[in-house]
Symmetry: C2
Subunit: 479 residues, 2 copies
Amino acid sequence: MEKKSKEGLTAKKEEDNAKWYEEVCLKSELAEFSSVKGTMIIRPRGYFIWEAIQNYFNKEIVEKTKCENAYFPLFIPESFFKKEAEHAKGFTPEVAWIDPKLTAPGERLAIRPTSETIIYDSYSKWIRSYKDLPLRINQWCNIVRWETEATKLFLRSREFLWQEGHCVYETEKECDKETLQYIELYKKLCEELLALPVLIGKKTEKEKFAGAKYTLTIESFMPDGKALQCGTSHNLGQGFAKAFNIEFLGKDEKKHLPWQNSWGLSTRLIGAVIMMHSDNKGLVLPPKIAKNKIVIVPILFDKTKEKILKEAQKISKQLSKFNPILDDREDHSPGWKFSEWELKGIPLRIEIGPKDLEKESVTIVKRNNSEKIQIKIKDLEKKIPNLLDEIQNELFQSAKKFLESSAIEAKNFNEFANGIKNKKIIKTAFCNETSCENNIKEKTGASSRCIPLDSKKITGKCFSCGKPAKTEIYFARSY
Amino acid sequence: MEKKSKEGLTAKKEEDNAKWYEEVCLKSELAEFSSVKGTMIIRPRGYFIWEAIQNYFNKEIVEKTKCENAYFPLFIPESFFKKEAEHAKGFTPEVAWIDPKLTAPGERLAIRPTSETIIYDSYSKWIRSYKDLPLRINQWCNIVRWETEATKLFLRSREFLWQEGHCVYETEKECDKETLQYIELYKKLCEELLALPVLIGKKTEKEKFAGAKYTLTIESFMPDGKALQCGTSHNLGQGFAKAFNIEFLGKDEKKHLPWQNSWGLSTRLIGAVIMMHSDNKGLVLPPKIAKNKIVIVPILFDKTKEKILKEAQKISKQLSKFNPILDDREDHSPGWKFSEWELKGIPLRIEIGPKDLEKESVTIVKRNNSEKIQIKIKDLEKKIPNLLDEIQNELFQSAKKFLESSAIEAKNFNEFANGIKNKKIIKTAFCNETSCENNIKEKTGASSRCIPLDSKKITGKCFSCGKPAKTEIYFARSY
């Protein structure tokens, strides 16, 4: 039996999910609570995941959509917020202001909770003609929203990191098309990079972004029975253009209001990845976002120590493109090391002991399912990429299976309420009225997640209020 | 004669440098003033330069120094600032606080003007043993300092972007060594990537970082006769460790205070690049940081239009790795386009007209010196990298020549004052006393820039006060 690391998890995923999640984040050194209430520290192992997301997504948006990165101020004048009424109403409760003494007798400045208003103020100066369109700008930055509920690492904190894209188009059609394109790019990112299957759909009026015409969303479903919004793309219509006086001279030489969208994803995604894939031994990471893809643990006995160490160093050098950790510490047992690197989510473990060396091979252990494989040392470089792909794919398939088994249908309120109680995400027929949605939330704690984009034409009645159903929809409890 | 673009510069570099600089930044679309007083917008063309700096530097610090990126909170509790007395004194005047109502009855929160204190609070929890050292963490983030002087794009604004590295070591020797290593990496970045020669040296007691044992700096010298600090690396000694209770158990099993450094460079560097290389036609960028390295301007006449356009498209595709702009607009003359892309700093212009096509060649014009070269179309792909290297090198050499001709020696106060008046950077013998330094500043407007690292042993007297000289030093007016 392996000796457990003293640093191991004390809570179990299936028993106390919240405590388990926090332990995984802390003990795998992805993140930590800060001394400043409501905020968190993203440690190097966690920040590496954010950088992997940035690298992947920057490439996608530049190559596929000709979007460019830029940077706008952290501060937003109060009057800007007030220009779009719905937007102001939606964000004012959670805005952090800077000390009014700094700006008096001028107006107050907010710390950005989102940047539509400060960016569109610039757009009104930059856009003159149809030749300036489409305009596509993205920003990677920090965001502040003065949450009052307890901090949950990556999932809820007063400051987080995100990207926000802000595009302007001549026509509604282009705007519709690209609002969809960006949510589809998010879906691709989640599935390809993070091994995270998501549902894609439209938010209800109640749940849409403050100031948007409509909001598209991707939703993942977590093992504890809660949905997690992983990214949104908002068609803003012409409301902000009107409020910020963004006009362009069309090909017809007349002035027009353009159409706009905005879209964002945040460090919250890191929380989704951790929660979906990890287990009771600790962090499990899709290989594509793991900084160190391999840990090499030499099994040392007095007689063969030198030889084994030399071989381990050789292998480590040979596999350098996978950024391996060579754990040659002598004050810890192999079992202790196994636990430590399982806790920290290294995708592949290479064990090399005297018996392995005799056979010119090593033992490889896959983090996701503990599968053990013997591989000839000479074949390592060729076979490791396949093993990493295999893990990436197994994680995705297993998460997909979980999502599919969790999504059930409900024909009436009873079935619905039972499903929610049993931690399911429920597809059902819905009247699509806010009052009914409020009532459902109150009685079951579930909120609408999204109206599937490929929703079938619906007949029949709303499962809750009995009025004619207008749409299919997903409901679940959520983060 | 070429027709000048209406968008061209109105001020001249040598006549009204400040206005010229602002026009270059604005009209080349690198940056813009924001509606929020004291802040700026970094537009895509400018942000690309920052990304180039990030990519270059991330690679350097990860590969050469095993530093890792992380992210710490934007907010810093007031009590943290007060822990290191000199640090608190240095930064308090320019700190922006958030609205005290948000945190009452708790203590005030500052928006980070630098992150030593919030980061070292974490370090005190993370560091236990010599095995945890050296610890090297870097952060890319926004910084707020409540400047009261007028905004100068990239050079002075209430918010800017930077990186700050924070390392912890067992010994003073290691700390000294790496404090130097980081300033040398900055020098390398400036010279290799930005074609910006710099002086490297030590700050005086008066000019060092608040809370540091000593500060190393790189200083560039601008064509308007002012020095510009481009990056600093501070040996913090053990003062912060003491204030934040960072201790480690040494190999001797006793508790010790570690040694620390911090080092930073900011978007201000972009300002240095613009000011150094640009001219009266507009922006000049070192090719390595230019997003579009080439603009292709087809010279269109009715008869040959189709043929020329087709060839221009072919060339554009062939040179795609240089991210070329193909300017095939028909509502502007070639001359107008030449001016526009000169203004925007595209390093190489390819002109292709009927006569070029007959000879199966194109005309290439170098942005930095207007040199014209005929190149066979079939040779383009091979020769363009050489041309880009040539420009990069010419810019560096020309800036280096300027720096060398600007650095003069002064033996007495008269020579010194004349030199400063004549916009030179002056190397001189100095007593190294703060009172004398204050006096020089008051009388001439010049501040000490740095004590050269390779400073010779000095005899003789201080040029200003006549006391025994202790060191060589550079003085200049500065940004």
